[in-house]
């Protein structure tokens, strides 16, 4: 992975709701009853795919409400729990995405990203300089992402359509072997994703894949 940009549908309201519990997990002390109840509610059903060891570590936290996670879990396990909780609560399909598979709840842009940055509106958006775009405090590291509010999606759709309407071939020389149809297909996926998020009252989350 190098420089691809991932977009996923994202429920910012639910994220705000779980933020105090994420703060408690970060503190690694015994959890409040409210945070414990939230975590317990996320155990079932088991995730369809392996998500680090977050699910297993979460099960252990829930089983021992009186114990501080710092006593019996390793740092990596606690960060995995945080990632799991955010994935399960705020993303579709527990936050699933893939570079190979296509999915309705995510889009991975590679060749087309440069055309987004050519647009000043998108440049500000992707750099986090636009109101309605914010850095999520959790998870951190490679899994860190930026939230894009639901209110921005109408304009985002218009901007992508405007980019698609341009004579892209004349704007930038394409790497050899890369067809313009690949770029258009990626942008069309972003359009479909934004439409889905709007339809579900969600925003988007975006991150650069390292």
């Amino acid at each position: 992975m190098a420089g691809e940009r991932l977009f996923r549908t994202f429920d910012a309201a639910r994220y705000q709701g779980i933020l105090p519990s994420l703060d408690e997990l970060r503190a690694t002390r015994a959890l409040s009853a409210g945070a414990h109840a939230l975590l317990a509610s996320l155990l079932e059903p088991a995730p369809e795919r392996a998500m680090g060891d977050g699910h297993e570590a979460l099960r252990r936290i829930v089983r021992h409400p009186a114990l501080a996670p710092r006593v019996f879990l390793a740092p990596k396990q606690i960060s995995s729990v945080i990632e799991f909780v955010v994935g399960r609560t705020c993303f579709e399909q527990d936050g699933k995405w893939s570079l190979i598979e296509r999915g309705a709840s995510w889009a991975v842009l590679e060749s087309s990203v440069i055309f987004l940055y050519d647009d000043p509106w998108f440049d500000e958006l992707l750099n986090g300089d636009r109101p309605g775009v914010w850095d999520a405090p959790y998870p951190r590291g490679e899994a860190a992402f930026r939230g894009i509010s639901h209110e921005l999606l109408g304009e985002l759709v218009d901007r992508v359509r405007a980019i698609l309407a341009l004579d892209l071939e004349r704007r930038r020389p394409l790497p050899e072997g890369l067809g313009m149809q690949v770029i258009r297909a990626e942008l069309a996926e972003l359009l479909a994703l934004a439409a889905r998020a709007r339809g579900h009252g969600r925003g988007l989350a975006t991150q650069v894949l390292l």
């Binding site: 970060r26 690694t28 002390r29 252990r60 089983r63 021992h64 114990l67 501080a68 710092r70 006593v71 019996f72 879990l73 390793a74 740092p75 990596k76 960060s79 998870p139 951190r140 590291g141 490679e142």
Partner: protein
């Protein structure tokens, strides 16, 4: 500087996956010293700095760091035996975690100790074993 502040700085860098910051080992060593000198019997706060240090050591991916991590793992296990006395399932996890610390690149550098830890974990899980102080 209070131990809580240093602890928070170290933990933040680990969350940010900045384990390779050059001053991080010194910072976490200072934290371990501060926690060790505190007049407190709070086991939680003695265990966590050791876990942070073990994490930083393992990120180095070299045998000397792995050995040091295992030695710290023994210290941590001694504390966990007390903290988890009423939670044998978690003590068994801790024993297995320490057994794994004795491996580097899929080979154990202390197979006897690793086997003994695994044996004790299995005995606890089967309900027939008493945790011992080894």
């Amino acid at each position: 500087v209070r131990a809580e502040e240093i602890e928070s700085q170290v933990w933040d860098r680990i969350l940010d996956e900045r384990e390779y910051d050059r001053d991080l080992p010194d910072l976490v060593d200072a934290l371990i010293r501060m926690r060790g000198s505190e007049d407190t019997d709070v086991l939680d706060d003695a265990i966590w700095p050791l876990s942070l240090k073990i994490h930083v050591l393992l990120a180095r991916h070299d045998i000397e760091a792995a050995r040091e991590a295992a030695a710290l793992g023994e210290r941590r296990l001694a504390l966990r035996r007390a903290a988890l006395a009423a939670h044998p399932d978690e003590l068994a996890h801790s024993l297995r975690e320490l057994a794994a610390l004795y491996s580097f690149e899929l080979e154990s550098f202390s197979p006897e100790r690793a086997r003994s830890l695994e044996y004790e974990a299995a005995a606890i899980e089967s309900g027939g074993g008493e945790a011992h102080g080894g």
